[in-house]
């Protein structure tokens, strides 16, 4: 996998993980272009996109888009499942996750992602093992964060 982006329906970037070295300028350009292209697509359309020489695989969960870039010979369907498994992990960790959880605790979302995907490859596919690793590192974490009141959607992703 080359990179993963999470962005909202409004086009706000929520998470970005780059597995290939790119300059900030390129990253911004790619993000802008992709957010635009993906948001312009209709709901019944294919989850895959050809973009430059890459394949983009995206999926929408509630108000949030998950978008991965893979190489042409990679398997698109399993990439969709990678996204899904990541959402499942988030869901399990936060307890029915919504976009807000990711906004306010995005560093946690990164930690979970790093336990699941490492260097662009699937590191661990067992849900139990990923969460165990996160909990281990979380042991010393301060008490649970109370959800902040908000005007954003509380829609559950799953």
């Amino acid at each position: 996998m080359q990179f993963m982006l999470l962005f909202s329906r409004q086009g706000k970037l929520r998470l970005q993980k780059w597995y290939v070295p790119l300059s900030d300028k390129e990253k911004k350009k790619i993000t802008r272009e992709l957010v635009q292209t993906v948001l312009a697509r209709k709901p019944k359309m294919c989850s895959f996109l050809e973009w430059r020489d890459l394949k983009i695989v995206y999926k929408r969960y509630a108000s949030l888009y998950f978008c991965c870039a893979i190489e042409d010979q990679d398997n698109e369907l399993i990439t969709l499942e990678i996204i899904h498994r990541y959402v499942e992990l988030l869901d399990k960790y936060f307890g029915s996750v919504c976009e807000l959880d990711i906004i306010f605790n995005f560093e946690k979302a990164y930690f979970i992602l790093d336990e699941f995907l490492l260097g662009g490859e699937v590191q661990e596919t067992s849900k139990k093992n990923v969460l165990k690793a996160i909990e281990q590192a979380d042991l010393l974490q301060e008490g649970s964060l109370s959800h902040l009141p908000s005007f954003l959607q509380f829609q559950k992703l799953l």
């Binding site: 706000k12 970037l13 929520r14 998470l15 970005q16 780059w18 597995y19 070295p21 790119l22 300059s23 900030d24 911004k28 993000t31 209709k42 019944k44 359309m45 294919c46 989850s47 895959f48 996109l49 050809e50 973009w51 430059r52 020489d53 398997n75 698109e76 369907l77 399993i78 969709l80 499942e81 990678i82 498994r85 906004i103 306010f104 995005f106 560093e107 990164y110 930690f111 790093d114 336990e115 490492l118 260097g119 490859e121 699937v122 590191q123 661990e124 596919t125 067992s126 849900k127 139990k128 093992n129 690793a133 281990q136 590192a137 010393l140 974490q141 301060e142 902040l148 908000s150 954003l152």
Partner: protein
């Protein structure tokens, strides 16, 4: 390194010491923890981008102040870091915080460290200079007793690590492979995977450990190791064939549900693992029947098991189908796979439909009937509202294009092209259309008669020109420059049929004149260049319009402001060509007047040339003959007519002429400046790259400096020569050759026409059978289908894109261009290699220079007597290589032992039976006695023959000799040895290698000389031998031989002085410090070791420094400078080849470790 870190950190404001003692007040802490929330809310409340910018700038300013304030605690710093990440995500620059992220990772407690590492991995990229400061922290954390810290360090290493610092952490990470915790082992494997990706030669020595990881009892660790194997097998599948059994066994166990339930995903066992294994098997089984046979069973089972109607099973199915089609085919499996593809294509789910189309595109060449089966679905997809589906369909159609459906397909592609705006898509599609158009034009020319009678859809001249016009208009200036070049060459070289040539050219000229008449239309520059060249060359074909009219049009174009000066140069060149044909020359004179004062020097030059030629009509006519663009003109390149002038000048005391490179050399030796250019370039500077435009060519003649009247003729001659080079013989296939190409093209014609008819029949039959149920719309679709899928009916259909593509010589030419153009792009190598392995024309620019230097070096060696005792051992330089082929024998206990899984053992490395060795050894070639050679090693055997091989390290090449011993009492006939073309090697057969007969119980030798095309640490050379026993069937036996870089390294005997010169001329260098063991501490002994093991030539020893030189055959020199510093050896490599130093460094390190 460590001192740099220390220094940098102490140079920072001394926050940390104060931090500990001060500690923020609790109130501040509380406010910090909700700061991110506040920021997020603040941003969401804003309505305009401008307000957001203001708010974030303010926030960043606050953060900047906070992070550099001495009172900031690490806890606060952690909070700041999170906000910084947030700001960066929104697209604002937070680079002032990078250094603090590194500090946080270094000094924080666990939680803070974690955020610090995260920030580092998000902020920095691999080559960021600050990353070096992280190395010490990583090393420390890797040694920590706290598992969480080790995990963090490994996580960050697997994502981002400076390539040159890998040696600092490599041993620590290798240790972690034995760690008791599986999570640590897993992350260590992934860290090594990262290293493999960024610096493969640094982890070569731990391949054995990868095997251990593959056999790890934990599924996660094993799965992680597959990432490495996938990459390695992709690089060189033949080296890992022995693991096929293991992979198959693992897959069997996974498919059979033997893994713990944890790894299930929606009740499918470990889908990611399955897919990775399937991909690996696909690579291993490619073109290899024996290996493929091992996997048929498990593939069959995979296809069978994947039944659940869930996305993930489809993912596995898709991969499985891909594997089935990549490996050596088995009809039963292919049938099942084809059924699966049907499931995809017919699925109502759009994602699956897309993948179905994708699968079809890659299987279509093997099985064109599949496209027929699904033709209606394909037609529907062609008008699908989702452009992605449309595009994939076009891709599919592109692959099934044949002479009959081409016009329809190209039309569909052009329609799509008109709608798309993305540059990448345009470039890609335009290239495909141009390729198809050119290819089928050639076919059409071969089949003129047939096509005219059979099919009205067939492409013709007009269609071709119109299609190319569309290509040039849309593709314009973004398309690949090959497209206009190829197009013009095609026009210029023409075909056998002169009337066809005539018509094609005439049509082009007419269509361009029409296009130029249209007012207010802007054409891309490239298109205009094409037009002007064609008009310049072929306007003479016109009957109605006179050259004057054409010139007038060109002049009008020339005066247009939107025309680039490069295009103007093309236009002037065209006018120049037309001038001798024209009677009146008003416009030409006007043009001359206008452009002899042009500010653009190249245009001015062209105008002056035209002016002088114009004054001498006779000369002009002989210089610019009509329709001779493909013929060479004889030019007195030695400038002999200037001899008198030169002699006169010399007698008057002028300095004799020195060639460019000589001047350069003298300058270099005088100034002792670093020359950053590769050495060989100085010779080619006169071979200017004027291929693209006449402007460039004129500049070239500027350089030659012949602007005097006497030189004028020559200048013009040269210029025309240049233009000829564009489209003429040089650099391309000579005309003669293309003609023979046409001849060989002829035979398939009748065949194809028959098939065409067949195709038509099958389609029409289908049509009839469905007529009853058709609505009108459907009828239209059917019609489209019949035009699209015509000619796909039978197996024997000539699919022009497939392997049977010997028909079009256009295609061959194209790939040849590719090959010569870029040796580094190794994609498509397979296709190119197979058809051109003989003609690979790699030119080594350094060749000449190096030979020179070497000669001189040799002479000077005799003169100089270097006061080194080592010089005596000069003769030792060519000591035999000690080949260490490590047989990785795996004593793997059990995989998944705790999981009740079947235990498997990777196959033992086959112990070669060496019974025949003695008899074979006696038959070593005579030549071996003169050169150093390796021991005889058996590579393969069966009941009749035994094959051994050995290497002879000759001075100028590597000879690999395969010795075939006929064990049987029978005579073997027509023995033939074939070596598979390898990516990195160039192989030439020695003349005495044809062996019609091998007598009973005798030995025969096959000898090949091998050259390495680009540096490579290790590679495999595989091939097979075929022979016949007593006129029966022929037997085939496969074998492979391992070649290492060292096989191609030879000492480079040069003097210290030459060493100095060469050193300055090389741009690629690599430095490395190596720790020496005590036994090596003496410089001389290390030198000796390097000299013996690596065949380096010791040039000189000065104090504690040594100079060594070697060359990679045929002519890549590499120089090594090293200095001893206590027990540290500083190695410094330089070479003209960018990758060679890395590989040599690796070999040196190996030697140092070994001795």
């Amino acid at each position: 390194m460590s001192d740099i870190v220390e220094k940098t950190l102490t140079a920072l404001p001394g926050l940390f010491l104060q931090n500990q003692s001060v500690g923020g007040p609790t109130a501040a802490k509380a406010s910090f923890s909700s700061r991110l929330g506040g920021l997020v809310r603040g941003i969401t409340a804003l309505t305009s981008k401008h307000e957001e910018e203001k708010l974030i700038q303010q926030e960043l300013n606050n953060l900047k102040a906070t992070v550099s304030a001495p009172t900031t605690t690490l806890k606060m710093m952690k909070e700041c870091m999170v906000r910084l990440i947030y700001c960066e995500m929104l697209g604002y620059d937070a680079s002032f915080g990078y250094i603090h992220a590194i500090k946080l990772a270094q000094q924080g407690n666990l939680l803070e460290k974690r955020v610090g590492y995260l920030a580092v991995s998000l902020f920095l990229h691999e080559s960021h200079e600050l990353l070096l400061l992280l190395v010490n922290t990583v090393v420390k954390d890797l040694q920590s007793t706290n598992l969480v810290e080790v995990c963090m360090a490994l996580t960050v290493v697997s994502q981002i690590f400076p390539r040159e610092m890998i040696p600092a952490v490599l041993p620590l990470i290798e240790d972690k492979l034995q760690h008791s915790k599986e999570i640590i082992r897993r992350k260590a494997v992934l860290a090594l995977y990262k290293f493999y990706l960024i610096a493969p030669n640094q982890v070569q020595h731990i391949h054995v450990k990868f095997r251990k990881a593959l056999c790890d009892r934990d599924v996660g660790v094993m799965a992680a190791s597959l990432h490495i194997y996938f990459r390695m097998i992709k690089e060189n599948s033949s080296a890992y064939k022995d693991l096929t059994g293991s992979f198959v066994t693992i897959l069997k166990q996974v498919v059979g549900g033997k893994l713990p339930v944890d790894f299930n995903y929606h009740s499918v066992p470990a889908p990611w693992l399955q897919i990775q294994l399937l991909r690996i098997l696909g690579l291993l089984g490619k073109d290899d029947q024996r290996t493929s046979e091992l996997m048929y069973d498990v593939l069959d089972e995979s296809l069978r098991r994947a039944e659940l109607n869930h996305n993930v099973t489809y993912a596995i199915l898709f991969e499985c189908v891909h594997t089935v089609y990549s490996i050596y085919p088995k009809s039963e499996l292919l049938e099942k796979a084809a059924k699966c593809i049907g499931k995809f294509v017919l699925s109502p789910k759009i994602n699956l439909k897309y993948l179905g189309l994708k699968a079809l595109t890659y299987v279509i060449q093997q099985d064109p009937t599949l496209a027929l089966q699904h033709q209606m679905t394909i037609i529907e997809c062609l008008d699908h509202p989702d452009p992605i589906i449309k595009r994939e369909t076009l891709e599919l159609l592109y692959r099934i294009t044949n002479a009959q459906n081409i016009t329809v397909i190209v039309q569909k592609m052009l329609e799509y092209l008109q709608q798309s705006k993305e540059e990448y898509i345009i470039v890609n599609l335009v290239g495909k259309i141009a390729e198809l158009a050119e290819k089928y034009l050639l076919v059409a020319f071969g089949n003129v008669l047939v096509l005219n009678t059979v099919d009205t859809y067939a492409p013709d001249n007009a269609w071709f020109i119109q299609t190319m016009n569309a290509v040039f208009s849309v593709g314009g200036d973004v398309m690949h420059p090959d497209i206009p070049n190829n197009f013009l060459r095609l026009l210029a070289e023409g075909f056998d049929d002169e009337t066809e040539n005539h018509q094609l050219r005439l049509y082009a000229v007419q269509s361009y004149l029409t296009l130029l008449d249209v007012e207010n239309v802007f054409y891309p520059q490239r298109f205009l260049q094409v037009m002007s060249w064609v008009l310049g060359e072929y306007s003479y074909l016109l009957n109605k319009e006179t050259p004057e009219e054409v010139i007038t049009k060109l002049y009008k174009l020339l005066m247009n402001d939107s025309i680039s000066s490069e295009t103007k140069a093309w236009i002037i060149a065209a006018v120049t060509k037309l001038t001798p044909q024209a009677h009146s020359s008003n416009i030409v004179e006007r043009l001359i007047q206008e452009f002899t004062t042009s500010l653009d020097t190249s245009l001015r030059q062209l105008a002056f040339e035209l002016k002088h030629l114009h004054e001498n009509v006779k000369l002009m006519k002989s210089l610019l003959p009509i329709d001779k663009s493909c013929e060479d003109m004889v030019v007195d390149a030695s400038l002999s007519f200037l001899d008198g002038f030169v002699a006169e000048e010399l007698t008057q005391g002028a300095a004799p002429y020195k060639p460019h490179h000589q001047r350069q050399e003298e300058k270099l030796s005088q100034e002792k400046v670093l020359n950053f250019e590769p050495y060989g370039l100085s010779f080619s500077s006169s071979g200017f790259t004027g291929r693209q435009s006449p402007a460039g060519i004129s500049l070239g003649s500027d350089i030659s400096g012949n602007s005097t009247e006497t030189g004028l003729k020559e200048t013009n001659g040269l210029k025309l020569e240049g233009i000829k080079k564009l489209w003429g013989k040089e650099g391309y296939l000579p005309k003669k050759e293309s003609k023979t190409g046409d001849e060989t093209e002829a035979p398939p014609v009748p065949q194809e026409s028959i098939i065409m008819e067949n195709g038509d029949q099958t389609v029409t039959k289908k049509d009839q059978s469905q007529v009853l149920t058709q609505s009108k719309e459907e009828k239209e679709k059917q019609l489209l289908a019949s035009s699209l899928f015509v000619g796909l009916g039978s197996e024997s259909t000539i699919n022009l894109l497939g392997k049977a593509d010997t028909v079009s010589h256009k295609f061959r030419r194209k790939s040849k261009i590719k090959e010569t153009k870029s040796e580094e792009t190794t994609t498509d190598q397979n296709i190119i290699c197979s058809s051109f392995s003989s003609s690979s024309n790699v030119t080594y620019e350094e060749d000449y220079c190096l030979d020179n230097l070497q000669d001189r070096g040799d002479k000077e060696l005799k003169k100089f007597s270097l006061s080194s005792e080592l010089l005596d051992s000069e003769s030792l330089t060519e000591l035999p290589l000690v080949e260490k082929i490590s047989n990785c024998r795996l004593s793997t206990p059990s995989l998944f032992a705790d999981n009740n899984m079947e235990v498997f053992h990777p196959p033992q490395a086959t112990a070669a039976s060496v019974a025949n060795e003695i008899s074979l050894a006696s038959s070593l070639l005579e030549e071996t006695s003169e050169h150093i050679h390796s021991d005889l090693m058996e590579v393969c055997n069966n009941e009749t023959i035994s094959m051994s091989s050995y290497k002879i390290w000759k001075d100028d090449c590597l000879l690999v000799v395969w010795s075939v011993f006929n064990k049987s009492g029978l005579e073997l006939k027509s023995a033939n040895l074939e070596i598979a073309p390898a990516e990195n090697f160039k192989i030439t057969e020695q003349p005495e290698c044809c062996l019609p007969v091998i007598e009973a119980e005798s030995t025969k030798n096959f000898q090949y000389s091998v050259q390495m095309e680009k540096p490579f640490a290790e590679g495999n050379l595989s091939g097979f031998i075929t022979y016949q026993v007593m006129d029966t069937h022929s037997v085939q036996l496969e074998f492979s031989v391992n070649l290492s870089l060292l096989d191609f390294i030879r000492p480079l005997k040069i003097s210290t002085e030459d060493f100095g010169k060469l050193w300055l001329s090389f741009a690629n260098d690599v430095k490395q410090n190596v720790k020496m063991s005590e036994s090596q501490a003496a410089l001389s002994s290390t030198l000796k070791a390097l000299q013996q093991e690596l065949r380096l030539h010791v040039v000189d020893i000065i104090g504690n420094e040594g100079l060594l030189a070697c060359q990679l055959l045929p002519s890549f020199p590499c120089l090594l400078h090293f200095r001893v510093h206590g027990d540290i050896l500083a190695l410094w490599f330089r070479s003209s080849c960018s990758t060679l130093p890395d590989y040599l460094l690796y070999q040196c390190q190996k030697v140092m470790e070994g001795s």
